[in-house]
Symmetry: C2
Subunit: 413 residues, 2 copies
């Protein structure tokens, strides 16, 4: 960070909120979701993130945003970053990246394994010029092992990792999980690894190569189904729809309402009795079919029919009000329209409407990692490709303006 | 860390691998999935994690493991931790926790909002005794805002966050995503926040309260569907099954095989022509219905029929061999049996069979965050409740053995 040159400036600096990653500089070569999410979180924690993309078109997600399909995700994941266009396949582009790496703390990439090595910009080359640099790499299956070069997109990793086989109704084919969870699990693990390496570097003075594979990053989330698999081996049902993954609780399902669906979960007698009270059916408390969890599980079909026949006559709002009053664990199944307008997330500042210079009025997210005593980082809209070329190269890395002009003329930036 | 008391010991210490979080002590009050995953990752990065649970039964997941339902997840998430039983509702238990907090770096909890405050162990009390302590909290909806006290389990947050509404087939009800992704997204964001705060503390000397909400932690993973929502508003389909979330690519689906299912994704002509070659149908390259992505999307039903009729006559293995040879992006839909025995993950050391003293032969995961130059942390099986009571209280925090005996007698530990 720059030294304060006057007492007034020093005082202004002292008054500004101090974000945890202030002073950290990140060179971001990443694209689409996994890498950009990691660097977005870094930017929102106070790091200076320089997003480096091919001149002309920019990264894949920017291309898709340009033809209208992915404007919102591009803007969501790339706010608060500086944009630099740079042709890494040219000698001068490569040299410039190495020069910047000398003054940076972290480099992030999510190319297929081997790509940066072929560019002459692998971990060995980069850490040779800056042993303090943290090199962070996200791939589908890791930088080693027999599947290293398997094609890795969110949907292929969902298939390979078991996610698809455990999602859906028992009498329907396997179905992908709607969220791009392989990409985003990889991205947040990558951020976590970088932050860990930054901590370590404060103590050792040395950088690290940090690596995350999408396949490994989602494995732990299978826990509930792995429990059932472990307990029942080959006899475990692959998919249980909206019922408990272990078919060990009831009522536990998504039930129809007049205007949609509502999830209800009763883990114990207290919850079940609260539900019966809400349904005005407390007489059933003593019915031997429903007396305890075990007998309820044995009469799951009857329970689901009983509850579903009652819920379908009411709206989600009516049901939620009854359940809140009676303390029945529940949640309405909300559509994206309700989610992006969620009063709670807007009240907390985790979602915010902004007027984006390229994409118009959109809703964007702040970081889900909150630090007390600093306000959420003010959101800066994502930049146009190369919008900060001068600011980065001249002001930040000391290039001569004529040199920058020559780079532009020759298509290097 | 202890000082080396002889040159031989100093040399042995220098030779041991230095893990990034060596020397960090974590008090772990968390349960089930989110918190324990965060602290598991800390343990695997070298931290000393002391898992603190109620005497008698232990945390919820240990109870479930004891009756057979969740042995594997409990073991997966709680290896490499020390177990201390401690009654936080008693005055002496509370005092002991405050005493330990003086010598710790991080405290992790995922109780409902307000629980630790009611115990007299909220962030204010803890940081009063140790301003360097990082207090890390994971909740369903955050520590503030109108939904703060809403019931939060993985399935209710899946319903509220929009995940359920975008998962499943268009002609079926919404369905939950199989993985417990709300719990695990919260857990890994929590770890990330803690690592960030540890880095910051090296620079400022001060701890932070770090907070993560499950609802906020999954929001970004909705990106693809938010793109479609943004582009088409109310007219966007909520669910597209295994087709592209934006219905903007074809072939892109999960197709039947003789012995299961296989995902195929063609993002461009190169992929599609490779698929036609694998199918020995290159004559179709010039068919105007399939000439480019746009026309293929316009004939999605025909494409899916054409591809599906061909795949269903072959096994997953036959298809995968053909697709690998022709470079067609694809992946077999694998069941949990294939996943836990995955030769790639075992080759990389990310999965490993261990003989667990309580649970027998099980497969457990190493950390998905890999640091070059240190071998993966050797896996230590999860402990029995209170197994390290003496080691923690006497050796680590300096209590008198008689004092520990009195605490045990009085049911405090």
């Amino acid at each position: 960070m720059a030294d304060a040159s006057s007492p007034a400036e020093a005082s202004a600096q002292a008054a500004a909120p101090a974000y945890p990653l202030a002073g950290v500089t990140v060179l971001d070569l990443s694209h689409i979701y996994a890498g950009p999410y990691a660097t977005f979180l870094m930017a929102m924690a106070g790091a200076e993130v320089i997003k480096i993309e091919p001149p002309g078109t920019g990264e894949h997600l920017r291309v898709r945003a340009g033809i209208g399909g992915a404007a919102l995700p591009f803007a969501m994941l790339n706010g608060n970053k500086k944009s630099l266009s740079l042709d890494l396949k040219s000698d001068r582009g490569r040299e410039l990246l190495l020069r910047m790496a000398r003054g940076a703390d972290v480099l992030v990439e999510n190319f297929a394994p081997g790509v940066t090595e072929r560019l002459g910009l692998g971990p060995a080359e980069l850490r040779a010029v800056n042993p303090r640099l943290i090199y962070a790499s996200s791939t589908g299956y890791g930088r080693s092992g027999p599947y290293r070069d398997y094609p890795a997109m969110d949907i292929t990793v969902q298939a390979m990792s078991g996610i698809m086989s455990i999602t859906g109704f028992p009498d329907s084919p396997p179905v992908k999980s709607g969220p791009a969870l392989c990409d985003f699990f990889a991205g947040i693990h990558l951020y976590a690894g970088i932050a860990t390496a930054l901590y370590e570097r404060e103590r050792t003075g040395k950088g690290r190569l940090v690596e995350v594979s999408m396949q490994e990053a989602v494995y732990a989330s299978l826990s509930s189904n792995l429990a059932l698999y472990h307990g029942n081996g080959g006899k475990a049902p692959a998919r249980t729809g909206n019922r408990h993954g272990g078919l060990a609780e009831s009522p536990y399902n998504v039930y129809p309402a007049k205007d949609g669906y509502i999830a209800i979960i009763c883990n114990n007698n207290r919850h079940f009795h609260a539900l019966l009270k809400a349904m005005d059916r407390e007489g059933l408390r003593d019915d031997p079919r429903f007396a305890d969890l075990k007998s309820r599980v044995g009469h799951m079909e009857e329970i689901d029919r009983l509850v579903g026949d009652w819920t379908r006559e009411r709206t989600k709002g009516e049901l939620a009000a009854l359940f809140l009053a009676n303390r029945v664990p529940h949640a309405p199944v909300r559509g994206l329209d309700e989610v992006v307008n969620d009063p709670h997330m807007h009240a907390r500042g985790s979602l915010q409407w902004i007027d984006h210079p390229q994409f118009g009025r959109i809703v964007v997210q702040n970081s889900p990692i909150r630090f007390e005593d600093v306000p959420p980082m003010p959101l800066v809209p994502s930049s146009r490709l190369g919008e900060q070329n001068e600011a980065v190269l001249v002001d930040r890395f000391g290039l001569d303006p004529d040199e920058v002009e020559a780079l532009r003329r020759d298509g290097v930036i």
